[in-house]
């Protein structure tokens, strides 16, 4: 019998808000002295109450909109009750029946380049727990992370191949960074992946009656490996006639295999109920407000680059990969216009040279480089001399400045020549001629 994988993904992303989800403590906990970013609220002291951070809600909605979700009119927080020493209140404030965003989708590519739509079940808001450190038979608790805003994104079980999962995770990471809602650094735990993996005979429509949850895997590569391993393991087990059950497994990178962490019998009953300390979130007007402030997302930017600048889709894809590159590319396009440099030339140059545009300086250099390289450039020294003299005549102040030792003045004069020739001139020759003229005092 042939089997096919059924995979769903849960992604947690920690938001980079200034303060925590339900109190005013700083949310940035990375490498801070333990238990210095705490207060009665995030420590869960008796009598303390949560107070919702609006910035987090806005960022959660931005993520939802980026994933083509509907923003619900009315959302609620609920309590997820369970015991763990890193959970100071004895429950996590999360969302269950009334998530902020529902019914979205994202297109992913598998390794062959086939595109498919992954349905997003929900995007909801919750809070992080404290951090336990085990050493020398002792356990230490750091509550700096307790209450940091966390957004959970849950897909439908629509993945059929590990390569889609990797593409999905990468696209999410790119979206988080574009939206500036999170650093989305896997190693720091900003972004955490959990996959639900099962297999079913090809042709079967119903979902399998079990699923294996892969947890605590902190890189895209390990996650892909773990899913591949798990698919193989499950198919082998089914072929041997074994019955698979609900369980949670981790990834052992040394042995390159998954291992059992928790079986179904140990599953929690979280006893969710509406968080009585927090009012309903009325989102009706919020959606419009957040929409107006949304940045352009990679997919849209890519399409716009193609239609607006006439560059190839491949180039556009590379240019939008990082937000800054796309931003500086557009700056370069503007700058290049004066010298009649086509966006296509710039795009080719940046993509082929593998330049990561990240500053205004790099933009200038790129434009100048192309300008210098282009055809139809004036090389004739007599012509250049004539133009140089005209520019000198029109800019007595710059000449004066130059004589006083201001090096900028030379740049200004070169700029003048460039403008006059619309950039179509050999800059090095211009410089030589200019300097000779200025030094000889052969000026009007």
């Amino acid at each position: 019998m042939k089997y096919e994988p059924v995979i769903g993904l849960e992604v947690h992303v920690e938001l980079n808000t200034k303060s925590k989800m339900f109190c005013r403590c700083f949310a940035d906990y990375f490498s801070k002295e333990p238990n210095t970013h705490t207060c009665p609220i995030c420590l869960g002291l008796p009598g303390a109450l949560p107070y919702t951070n609006k910035e987090a809600i806005t960022k959660c909605i931005q993520i939802g909109l980026a994933l083509n979700c509907k923003i619900v009119d009315l959302s609620r927080f609920e309590r997820k009750n369970y015991f763990y020493p890193d959970l100071p209140k004895g429950y996590q404030i999360s969302q269950y029946r009334w998530p902020l965003c529902v019914e979205g989708w994202l297109e992913v590519e598998d390794k062959e380049g086939n595109v498919s739509k992954i349905r997003i079940n929900r995007v909801h808001q919750e809070e992080d727990t404290g951090k336990l450190t085990h050493s020398d038979g002792q356990t230490l608790i750091d509550f700096n992370r307790s209450g940091v805003p966390l957004v959970e994104i849950v897909t439908e079980p629509d993945f059929t191949d590990p390569s889609q999962v990797k593409d999905y995770a990468k696209k999410l990471q790119q979206i988080f960074r574009y939206l500036s809602v999170s650093n989305a650094d896997m190693e720091k735990g900003d972004m955490r992946l959990e996959a639900n993996v099962s297999v079913r005979p090809v042709g079967q429509k119903e979902l399998p009656n079990y699923r294996v949850e892969l947890k605590n895997i902190n890189s895209f590569r390990f996650m892909t490996a773990a899913i591949e391993y798990e698919i193989k393991r499950q198919i082998e087990a089914l072929e041997k006639g074994e019955k698979l059950t609900q369980e949670t497994r981790g990834w052992n990178e040394d042995k390159r295999e998954t291992y059992l962490q928790r079986s179904k019998e140990e599953a929690h009953d979280y006893r969710y109920f509406p968080e009585p300390d927090l009012p309903e979130l009325k989102m009706k007007s919020e959606e419009e407000r957040v929409k107006e402030e949304m940045v352009e997302l990679p997919q849209a930017k890519m399409q716009r680059f193609v239609s607006e600048y006439g560059i190839s889709k491949q180039n556009a894809q590379v240019l939008v990969e990082l937000k800054e590159v796309g931003y500086y590319f557009e700056k370069a396009v503007k700058l290049g216009e004066a010298q009649q440099i086509k966006p296509q030339e710039l795009a080719n140059y940046i993509v082929n040279q593998k330049i990561t545009l990240a500053s205004q300086d790099q933009v200038l250099r790129a434009v100048e480089f192309i300008a210098a390289k282009r055809v139809g450039i004036i090389e004739d020294e007599a012509v250049i001399k004539k133009i140089v003299l005209e520019v000198i005549k029109k800019n007595p102040k710059s000449v004066e400045d130059y004589k006083r030792g201001k090096l900028n003045a030379l740049q200004a004069l070169i700029g003048g020549v460039m403008r006059k020739t619309q950039g179509k001139v050999n800059v090095e020759k211009v410089m030589v001629v200019l300097e000779k003229k200025l030094k000889s005092g052969d000026t009007p």
Partner: protein, 450 residues
């Protein structure tokens, strides 16, 4: 002049006019406290050498910075909070000092004070009787003049019922009127901090002080309360007083009913129009309350693990354990819809009952408690009987509306309170009605002999 007999408003006036000093005031209360506390068991913590401010008593479930706060539980023995409740901070700004932390049922769970891990508080009218609960110490502190006024919390009647049983004024504000920040949570959707005072005017003033928007309680936003006028309306002309049939049925003690009916007649004499109203879902109040409340309790008490503060969970008293188990059950998979979800629906019906009734009237009046104070030990082994004593206070809590108890007489030598319920966020009207009644009668002047 015995300074401890003065009301809050009289005390403020006396200080302002320099009839006496804060030192004298504090000394008078300290002496009163020393004399009475051993027999009444009101204070779990008391200030030794206070010389400043107007002495108020704070229920020990409300956190006070650097002052031990136990919530009446052994599990929090020795816990010293690093912060003040918002209500406490607001009192401190008004020159109020915390004279002591008052005894209460463990985590405010009880109607008699007997669930305190530190022994029951005694009723000052008869030391063999319960003072009511859970704000037992706060009610007795006011009744026995061991403070100028007190703060309590009311979840299902915990301010109104002990006020009724001890003969003081007790106000449960609308849910969201006073910040709950710093009130150790019992049932978060019901808990509310409120004043217990010697007069209605005092309650009005304290409410003004402690109410209002707080950036630490999301449910307390449009909640400012201002004392409207200094002039008391002598009559109640134009006020429609609703009397719910359901509050005068089976279980109501004859003596209590007589006193309450007379009080209603008095309201009529003062010009009020008395109308009969119905609150058809009243009989489900207790069932709904014990599901909603215990569900929230099971979650709120989860933090007391003994890992970071306090003691281990075996130190919970039996009522706390009972409610944790009830709530855990009601929220469990497979039971949620039948219990919690259904209770939430009936809660909405109870809320609608009040909304409909308030179309016919401005306030609703009736008894606070079906009986006067009962004997210590009488109901401790019968939780259901104990729960039934809150039948008239619970519905208003579920609806989130304000309610108060004002002394309206005695039955067999024990105080009876008249409950006055108002529309959501309309404390003004119930205080007006209560004050007119109070000023037209002299019950407030009768004090327990101690």
């Amino acid at each position: 002049m015995d300074l401890t007999k003065l009301t809050l408003i009289e005390t403020i006036k006396g200080l302002k006019e320099r009839q006496f000093s804060e030192v004298e005031l504090n000394r008078a209360y300290r002496e009163r406290m020393k004399k009475l506390n051993p027999s009444l068991n009101v204070y779990l913590w008391a200030k030794e050498n206070g010389t400043e401010g107007i002495p108020a008593a704070i229920k020990d479930i409300i956190v006070t910075k650097d002052i031990s706060t136990t919530a009446g539980s052994k599990i929090l023995e020795g816990f010293v909070p690093p912060y003040n409740a918002t209500a406490v901070d607001r009192l401190l700004e008004k020159n109020i000092s915390v004279i002591g932390k008052t005894n209460c049922d463990e985590f405010a769970m009880g109607s008699s004070g007997e669930n305190s891990a530190y022994g029951p508080t005694k009723n000052p009218w008869d030391l063999t009787k319960v003072p009511g609960g859970s704000s037992s110490g706060s009610a007795v502190a006011v009744a026995s003049d061991m403070c100028v006024f007190a703060l309590g919390t009311d979840t299902g009647g915990s301010i109104r019922q002990p006020s009724s049983l001890c003969g003081v004024v007790g106000l449960k504000p609308s849910y969201g009127r006073v910040s709950r920040y710093g009130a150790i949570a019992m049932a978060s959707s019901l808990d509310q901090i409120g004043p217990l005072t010697k007069t209605v005017a005092d309650a009005r003033l304290v409410l003004e002080w402690i109410s209002g928007k707080d950036g630490y309680d999301s449910n307390c936003q449009n909640s400012e309360f201002k004392v409207q006028s200094s002039e008391l309306k002598k009559d109640l002309k134009g006020v429609r007083v609703g009397v719910p049939r359901e509050y005068f049925g089976k279980g109501l003690d004859e003596g209590v009913e007589k006193v309450v009916r007379e009080a209603i007649k008095k309201l009529e004499k003062l010009g009020a129009e008395v109308v009969e109203v119905i609150l058809p879902h009243t009989e489900y109040g207790i069932a709904v309350y014990y599901i909603v409340m215990s569900s929230e309790v099971s979650s709120n008490l989860a933090k007391f693990t003994g890992i970071r503060f306090g003691k281990t969970r075996d130190k919970f008293g039996s009522e706390a354990k009972r409610r944790i188990m009830l709530g855990t059950f009601a929220l469990s998979t497979g039971y949620y819809d039948d219990y919690f979800a259904k209770a939430a629906k009936v809660r909405t019906l109870i809320k609608q009952d009040f909304a409909k009734a308030f179309q016919k009237c401005d306030v609703i009046v009736g008894p606070v408690s079906p009986t006067t104070a009962w004997n210590l030990g009488e109901k401790v082994n019968d939780p259901l009987k104990m729960y039934l004593s809150d039948a008239y206070t619970i519905p208003a809590s579920l609806a989130g509306i304000p309610g108060l108890s004002v002394p309206c007489g005695f039955s067999e030598g024990l105080p009876v309170g008249l409950q006055i319920l108002g529309k959501y966020m309309d404390e003004e009207t119930i205080l007006d009605v209560a004050e007119s009644y109070e000023q037209a009668t002299s019950w407030r002047k009768v004090k327990p002999k101690l």
